[in-house]
Symmetry: C2
Subunit: 273 residues, 2 copies
């Protein structure tokens, strides 16, 4: 990803999260530093404590991870890579099914297994945790608690796998981004991420924005509206496009775009996953 070797990777802990899996996919030899929540992961890189951060941004079932989108908007940072991780959720527990009165997991994992939980544990109380691994940790402390987590987390916390692949549909991938300092050089197969806030908050403005890319044949791989937090109906747009900021055609498009919008933030260019 970069010319310099990555020595440390900040990611969401504790041990056994899908974030850890993504970090290991990025670099097997780097030391992984676990943080309590996603804002702390990003802060570790902003404060210069760790080399890069790996955070989830999007899941194929649940959609965007809002806290990550907001952190990208609010902080000065660069996206330098992306990693796709195959998610296979398991229901894990210490005791027997009959003992279970509470189910713990991360909000996205709970949402991804909504149907399974409704059909198999209609009376269980559902509680949100900061990560799937944290849920597994809690389940290891009491027989009446089950967790939705990965098989790696079950191993890590000594839990039995009661059911495997319990998400609503089988194709379940989470896309992680790598946050760092220096934008990598073009590889010929890159993606660029930007945030755009139109001059007038009308969707006619979005049409004009997309036109800047369409007329140059630049493919967009994502367009996501996100609340500015100022008012209902006030949006900015997260856009991913094919190409590198150093490609002439992309540079020209971004230059034209800057003229017609109120705010353009270039998050970075990086090799496609």
């Amino acid at each position: 990803l970069t010319n310099e070797r990555i020595k440390t990777i900040a990611t969401l802990g504790p041990r056994g999260t899908y974030s850890e899996k993504a970090a290991r996919q990025l670099d097997m030899s780097a030391r992984i530093v676990f943080c309590r929540n996603i804002p702390d992961v990003v802060e570790a890189v902003l404060a210069g404590k760790e080399d890069v951060a790996v955070v989830p941004i999007e899941n194929s079932l649940e959609g965007s991870v809002n806290v990550t989108l907001d952190l990208l908007r609010e902080n000065k940072l660069s996206v330098i890579g992306e990693i796709n991780v195959h998610v296979v959720h398991c229901l894990v527990m210490k005791g027997k099914k009959e003992d279970v009165t509470m189910i713990y997991s991360h909000s996205q994992a709970l949402a991804q297994c909504r149907k399974y939980l409704r059909e198999n544990f209609p009376n269980a109380q559902i509680y949100e945790t900061t990560s799937t691994a944290d849920a597994a940790n809690k389940a290891s402390l009491a027989k009446h608690i089950a967790a939705i987590a990965s098989k790696e987390a079950a191993n890590e916390y000594g839990l039995k796998i009661f059911a495997k692949n319990i998400q609503d549909v089988n194709e379940n991938y989470t896309r992680f981004i790598v946050i760092g300092k220096n934008i990598p050089e073009p590889t010929g197969n890159d993606k660029t991420s930007i945030i755009v806030y139109p001059k007038e908050n009308k969707f006619g403005a979005l049409y004009e924005i997309l036109g800047v890319f369409a007329k140059r044949g630049i493919d967009l791989t994502k367009v996501e509206s996100r609340t500015t937090k100022k008012a209902l109906g006030d949006y900015l747009f997260h856009i991913d496009l094919n190409g590198h900021v150093k490609d002439k055609i992309v540079a020209a498009a971004l230059e034209e775009l800057r003229e017609i919008v109120q705010m353009l933030k270039i998050l970075g260019s990086y090799p496609k996953a």
Copy 2:
């Protein structure tokens, strides 16, 4: 909203939710029927048990309510109205601040008060409940549990208001939609909601879709990409536009749109909030 009187409204319970507030804003005289979760609220109308359903779709701080977007896609139903509710979150409890080790609330309310919780209760365990009122109910049972909920919920469950207006920014509105059977007649100040799935899943297709409205001067009030749940990067679009399906210009646009997309679902037309 409709010519027929609304006798019953299904909404998210228990008593004291913001959903109840929205339902009362819609019709003070209707009987409110409380359901356990958002899918059950929608099901109550689909099964013909209640006249209309009131469900949250979007918040000015947290963005879309994904489960509602997915239910609109998956079921045959009509959006017949919208209601905006001003959200003022309070931290409510039975005992004293020192007693509090756990904080309960709905996932969106927890997300909206992220900063307050981090600064004031950095060590509290955070748990998700199905509604803010459910959290208040749980807080009424134990001194070590605090809840994020409305002042109405605090009254309902006999709790003290420890802090008021604790959301990250002051402007906090939730938009609710009304789900029913018959699309209301045009009033001259209407909105139409549709879901579009492009033929090719490229964002050049989104440009073409927006062009159908732009060239007719039809304003879009929302464009939201949402995962199809099939794969990463496979999206459909929720679009809200100014006008009624019975307006000639809107009807012509939708007719042209149907030719260029794989799927067009017209959710309904209704008076603006």
